[in-house]
Amino acid sequence: MPDILVVATAPLGTLSRSSLELVAGAHAIRGPLGLGVTGLLLGTGPGLATAPQALHEHGVARVLRVDHPLLTVGESDAYLRALEQVARRENPEIILVSADTMGRDLAVRLAWRLGAALVTECSDLASADGAVVASRQVYGGRAVATLAVTRRPAVLSLKPRSLDAPAPDPVAGSVEDLSVELQQGELSSRVREVLREQSDVGLEDAQVVIGGGRGMGGPEGFAQLGELASVLGGAVGASRPPADSGWVPLTWQVGQTGKTIRPALYMAVGISGATQHVAGVSGSRLIVAINRDAEAPIFSVAHLGIVADYKEIVPALVAKIREMRGQ
């Protein structure tokens, strides 16, 4: 049976959450298109041993595995070459790639090399009349475009955290180890150094995110947000101005350019609510906005609004929560 190839990774020792989201996307279109789903695991290290099991548990029976020492984190060229070789062997109809920092290039370059149709940064997948129908945000989140892919093969990249992870659906499965030809010398780029910026809770996976904007006035304000995040067991994010000004690491940026998040609680503090930012948080279950400016556009997407100076609210909130917990 022709297949949907899901390109999965396990960089941190377990199957990545965005890989599971790809599985969800594949499940959404497999039935109507009459396609099977094959998982392809690329990488190296211990994660590759356990990850196939995680794919089986989510309804993916057939798993291909490429374990190669050059497939380390960030090595786009190596991944591309490996993926191209597998794709040429397998001839899948549809290839799903996560639009994370590596996958978003992989998808594009793979499509070019395979002569495939390409849709990037999809936020939803569906099917109609035998075609894949992808949705994606355009114009900084002001509009949503729906695109139909009528050609095969097709490569689609899926924006992380746009879909929920699929419910468990265990199947019996198999793992095939594949070998690929990779030479260090033929790679045109190489990661020399990995600079990890610490965050206790991954921003994308946090159930509570406290976001700060230009209204924080400087890096000091973010320390207060950090305290609030820590009592709530969450992470701190930021809109573009603080990241651009160097108040916080670039990796904290949430929005169209930064990360997309879908926490249970998103608290936007001193954030005006530019569409580019809102595009990355609109999937949050509860949005609380704290801003001095009652006219700030953030209030048009928030569920709960507080018009006040954050300095009057945040420390008091931290104290209150601590008090409730008897700390």
Partner: protein, 264 residues
């Protein structure tokens, strides 16, 4: 070193919501009467190139696709900021073309320029946000590609690029020529032009090429077989409930709500 920066002019992404409208014919944003600006990250890309010029005397050329009559402001600004020359591919249809199509034309234009060491683009365009141009350019030109780069720096004397990833940065060594897509950080905030450069910009060379001058060699066309079915502007209805009172009451009320939602 020869650096080419690809710039695109877009409708001001900060346009008031009331003025944002879709043209059902082209499935693109209505441009008429709206201010046009250089797409956000393209300015950062230009800044990175200009920093290379300041540091090592690189030649900086800007390249843009668009109706010649419309792109004047963007080109003038880029030249005033410090680019040495500009090439305009006079293509009135550019705003309606898919990213892949534009990448193919840009690649052809870059090939026509001759020797180029570095090609910089914004990491995404402010309008369609496909993020395809940089990798497609690299494929088409057969050169290396690193995306979401914020700076070009050196480690032990060797140039490396700082690439933004989910949990930090990678310092990546890359073989030239290469295509880099540029994201913003505090090091590449676009500079203001000096007045004497604004004046001098009027005398800098601007070449205009017709699309017919370009030799498109790519055999692959990722945009074919993809059609825009519809573009919907979601209605945004405010559902915000404002808490009122003095700060202690506000905090009290907020805590209550968070408890109701089982978030505490």
């Amino acid at each position: 070193m020869n650096v080419v920066v690809c710039l695109k002019q877009v409708v001001d992404p900060e346009l008031p919501a009331k003025d944002f409208a879709m043209d059902p014919g082209t499935q693109r944003q209505v441009r008429e009467g709206r201010p046009l600006v250089i797409s956000t990250y393209d300015e950062n890309a230009l800044e990175v190139a200009l920093q290379l010029k300041d540091a090592s005397g690189a030649g900086v050329k800007v390249l843009t696709l668009g109706a010649q009559a419309a792109v004047g402001d963007a080109i003038r600004l880029a030249l005033a900021m410090g680019a040495d020359e500009a090439v305009v591919v006079d293509d009135a249809l550019a705003p309606e073309r898919a990213g892949a199509e534009k990448a193919r034309m840009l690649a052809a234009a870059i090939r026509r320029m001759g020797s180029v060491d570095l090609i910089l683009t914004g990491c995404e365009s402010a309008d369609w946000v496909e993020r395809v141009v940089a990798p497609l350019l690299a494929e088409d030109l057969g050169v290396a590609c690193v995306t979401f780069v914020s700076r070009i720096e050196s480690r032990d004397g060797a140039p490396v690029v700082r690439r933004m990833v989910e949990d930090g940065h990678h310092l990546v060594e890359v073989r030239l020529p290469a295509v880099l897509s540029i994201t913003s950080d505090e090091s590449n905030r676009p500079r203001l032009p000096k007045v004497k450069d604004i004046m001098a910009a009027k005398r800098k060379p601007v070449q205009t090429w017709a699309p017919a001058d370009l030799v498109l060699t790519a055999t692959s066309d990722p945009a074919s077989g993809v059609e825009v079915r519809q573009v919907v502007v979601p209605e945004r209805t405010s559902r915000c409930e404002f808490l009122t009172g003095e700060p202690p009451e506000l905090v009290e009320a907020l805590v209550q709500r968070l408890r109701d939602q089982k978030l505490l």
